[in-house]
Amino acid sequence: MTSPLHSKSVRVEVRDLRKKMGALEVLKGISFQVGPGERFVIMGPSGSGKSVLLKHIIGLLTPDSGEILINGEPIQNPDVRDKYRMAMVFQSGALLTSLTVGENVGLYLAEHALHAPAEIDAIVARVLETVGLKGLQNRSPAELSGGMQKRVAIARALVVEPQLVLFDEPTSELDPLMAVTIGEEILKLNERTGATSIIVTHDRDLAFATGHHIAMIHEGRILFMGTPREVQENPDPIIQKFITAELAPPKSH
């Protein structure tokens, strides 16, 4: 990642991706394209293979067959991962608990020696302020709430100035107010950096509010792909069941 920085966001293409984990076929031929700067949401129930798909896109997992192309180049090629700046916001936040918040946010810059330590401190302070966590550099991640940890994870992604950013269930385990805040942060990050964003979620509100396009995934296959409106209007019973399901109050006797 020490190569000259690319200012443009990237195009992502997934072609006939298949993956077995043990005896279970998790991905059964997934294909889609995400245009530069687009916010693309992958929505589906738990256990449908969304997170596994995301880990393939960033190169953490290798597919059994099929390919993932970043601007036409396969992600499995290590040079491609060096060439493009990519970041992922994990479901758990995945902050390094042995480091402070500031060290976590500045880790990419420090490890790749991209700036002097004083400059890194300044960048970290600025980015933390952007995500509403001003002055928390010296705190341990364990001292923060779930929502704050996710915002630190977003700050860590922001520091990379990513061309592609992936979000894995960014609003899971958060209260509705914090979920809205995180959704706003995702939109802001996309506006600030222009990065192509792929968001995996089962949160319908987040999906419809942030996605330019939504892919509905079910049992390792894409059921439907379209704009939020097209998804809402799709008559497929599985899709309708997923997007309209509500907990009915018990009938009074």
Binding site: G59, M86, L107, Y108, E111, R156
Partner: protein, 248 residues
């Protein structure tokens, strides 16, 4: 088993390749050195004192009966520096430090921290394994250097104050000086250096292959400690054979 051996060899090779970047990881090396030193030094001293003492207690009366108690200093001296200090300290470090290494890296694996490093293009071998390997390879020989004289002293105390042995400090240390050579101490330090590499690589490897939540971390720690101890004892035999051959 062969799969694991292959993975360990690959990890060792990747750690070796990362060695030129060690200077950039110096702060982590110092942190690890401080941790290993602080965690182990008092235990090393207590353990060594009693190892020397037990050695004197077991052999002293037998040698006195045969009228050769004058060799006690040399015998305990050689045993400590060539065998007991390196092996016992390696076992202590495997239990105390190796377990901590595999638990820490294992937890990072389970909680996706290592995946997060990879997404930032930070090599976990350079960031996590290399500093730990350097720190353990430097610190175990230093701990053995502490262990040897403390063990000698423990033996001397028992020889002096146990009425069945009654060998005074002067004759004990005189015999020890006559028998133990610098090469014998270096012999023990070389062994401990190899043991340290074995403990470090096994513990880091177990951490990196951890799967399955907290229970997986527990399994990794147990495997790291047991495998390290078994390997220490097997390596000890072959290293002793090698060193005897070299010294001929």
């Amino acid at each position: 088993m062969f799969h694991n051996i292959g993975e360990i060899l690959i990890l060792s090779w990747r750690t070796l390749l990362a060695l030129p970047q060690a200077w950039r990881q110096r702060q982590k090396v110092f942190d690890q050195l401080a941790y290993i030193g602080l965690a182990s030094l008092s235990m090393v001293c207590i353990l060594s004192l009693f190892i020397g003492g037990v050695l004197a207690l077991q052999t002293g009366p037998v040698l006195v009966e045969r009228g050769i108690s004058s060799v006690l200093g040399g015998m305990i001296g050689l045993s400590m520096c060539k065998e007991l200090a390196p092996v016992m300290m390696a076992i202590l470090v495997a239990g105390r430090i190796g377990s901590a290494m595999s638990a820490e890296i294992g937890s990072m694996q389970v909680y996706e921290e290592i995946d997060a490093l990879r997404t930032m293009n930070i090599d976990p071998v350079r960031y996590l394994v290399l500093p730990r390997m350097i720190a353990i390879a430097l610190s175990l020989p230093v701990l053995v250097l502490f262990s040897i004289p403390v063990g000698w002293f423990g033996g001397a105390l028992v020889c002096q104050f146990n009425q069945k042995i009654a060998v005074n400090f002067d004759s004990y240390f005189q015999n020890l000086r006559d028998v133990v050579q610098t090469g014998d101490v270096l012999n023990g330090l070389f062994k401990s250096f190899i043991f340290a590499l074995a403990i470090g690589i096994i513990s880091c490897h177990q951490g990196l292959i951890t799967r399955g939540g907290p229970r997986g971390v527990g399994r990794s720690v147990t495997k790291a400690v047991v495998n390290s101890i078994v390997l220490i004892l097997i390596l000890d035999y072959f290293l002793t054979r090698f060193l005897l051959y070299v010294q001929k």
